[in-house]
């Protein structure tokens, strides 16, 4: 109940006066550029249609998750810095409800950018029966990744002494998780495959590629979804357990 009130206000702040609309606009511009390039490449026979859908979907998920993390990383440390956290902590609302409300607000950004990505996937994938599959993959994998990253962003935000620290730490983490997706042909060796599997981001992206591009069935490589699911569960538990203790007036370690 209280979490709903907080989520409602946080969403209004994000979308009516915050950076929600601008971030979504920037996201759309990026997808437009990528989609246009993919479409022209397709004509030039460099990209097969599924490949271009896969490319746009992976970028849509990656950037969407990034934006969600940015919003989450600002949620607590930002309020601390603006001096508005104390009056929130002074209400009888539980710390858990505060965390949940902020998590929902961050996820609203993911929901919005996902909707924005739909027309791009449709225009690239129409003709081959791949649009529905791409949308479903984006929804499932993207939501899993966005949830765990939003939770991690909130944890980092709650622990950070300043907003800058929180954003920097979150972006560094995301970069570290995404970097391996750029390595060529990772899962050919068994060590490489293990590395791909334990990193939820690379595992999720690899799964998208297998189903969308390689034509695997959904159930064939389900084991790649273990780490994204574990990441969601682990971060949710961490947030539920430590949230009430670390959502407090001062960030950093050892104070308050």
């Amino acid at each position: 109940m209280n979490a709903r009130v907080i989520a409602g206000q946080e969403c209004r702040d994000l979308w009516l006066s915050g950076r929600g609309p601008v971030l979504t606009f920037a996201y759309a511009v990026l997808l437009s550029v990528v989609t246009y390039l993919a479409a022209t490449n397709q004509i030039l026979n460099f990209l097969e249609q599924r490949e271009s859908v896969n490319l746009v979907l992976q970028i849509a998920v990656a950037v969407g998750v990034l934006l969600t993390l940015v919003v989450a990383a600002d949620a607590i440390s930002g309020e601390r810095e603006r001096g508005t956290l104390e009056s929130l902590l002074l209400t009888p609302v539980s710390r858990g409800a505060i965390v949940l409300g902020k998590l929902v607000a961050a996820m609203s950004l993911w929901a919005a950018v996902f909707v924005v990505a739909l027309p791009y996937l449709w225009v690239l994938g129409k003709g081959v029966a791949v649009v529905g599959e791409a949308v479903l993959l984006g929804l499932v994998i993207g939501t899993l990744l966005a949830l765990s990253m939003a939770a991690i962003g909130l944890l980092i935000s709650a622990r950070s002494s300043t907003n800058k620290v929180s954003l920097a730490a979150s972006l560094f983490l995301l970069l570290a998780l995404f970097a391996p997706t750029q390595l060529p042909a990772m899962p050919t060796s068994s060590v490489g495959d293990l590395l791909v599997r334990i990193n939820p981001v690379t595992a999720g992206m690899h799964y998208i590629g297998l189903v969308l591009l390689k034509g695997h069935s959904w159930t064939q490589d389900l084991s790649y979804l273990i780490s994204p699911v574990v990441a969601v569960l682990a971060t949710a538990v961490a947030l539920a357990v430590t949230g009430p203790r670390i959502v407090r007036l001062t960030g950093g370690v050892g104070s308050g």
Partner: protein, 172 residues
């Protein structure tokens, strides 16, 4: 897992050395589809099941995928798949194993794709039924299809941003 494979291997060796004449394993290869259609550049996932239908364990097996053109299109297997050959653990009688290949249809045309299992000894090859693969030439998509979306979506969102900003200014 590894130790189980180890014991099986040991068992197989034992059987092979003790009863060389009787060790005639029979392996059957089945594929999940008989017909696939696609377009040039598309990846196809070829899945097969290898079953030991004989009465004795097999040795280590090698599964190999092959692509043959039915209308004189040149096929370079290396282009179709980077790893046409995969090894399988020995199979006990009645045991089965799944093998799958990611294959990219690099040429248009009609092809037969089939899997071969080579035993380690001197027994005969086992071959799967062929999969009839019909690869169509590329359907060219006009860039005109993507352009309207690529233009309209940012414009709509830009208008939304503008509206929100103006509302903020007006109530200030």
């Amino acid at each position: 897992m590894r130790s189980r494979i180890g014991t099986r291997l040991l068992l197989a060796l034992l059987v092979l050395t003790l009863f060389p004449a009787m060790a005639s394993a029979t392996v059957e290869v089945a594929v999940s589809e008989s017909r696939i259609t696609g377009t040039v550049g598309q990846y196809l996932n070829i899945r097969s099941t290898v079953t030991n239908t004989g009465s004795s364990p097999t040795g280590k097996l090698i599964a190999h995928l092959n692509v043959a053109s039915l209308n004189d299109v040149y096929v370079d297997l290396e282009d179709w798949t980077a790893a046409p050959t995969q090894s399988l653990p020995p199979l006990r009688p009645g045991e089965r194993a799944e093998v799958s290949w990611d294959v990219q249809a690099v040429n248009a045309g009609v092809f037969n794709v089939y899997a071969v299992v080579l035993p380690n000894g001197s027994e005969s090859l086992s071959v799967s039924p062929p999969i009839h693969v019909d690869v169509a030439g590329r359907r060219t998509l006009s860039a005109g299809g993507a352009l309207p979306i690529a233009v309209i979506v940012p414009i709509l969102l830009g208008l939304a941003v503008f509206a929100v900003r103006r509302r903020l200014r007006n109530t200030a």
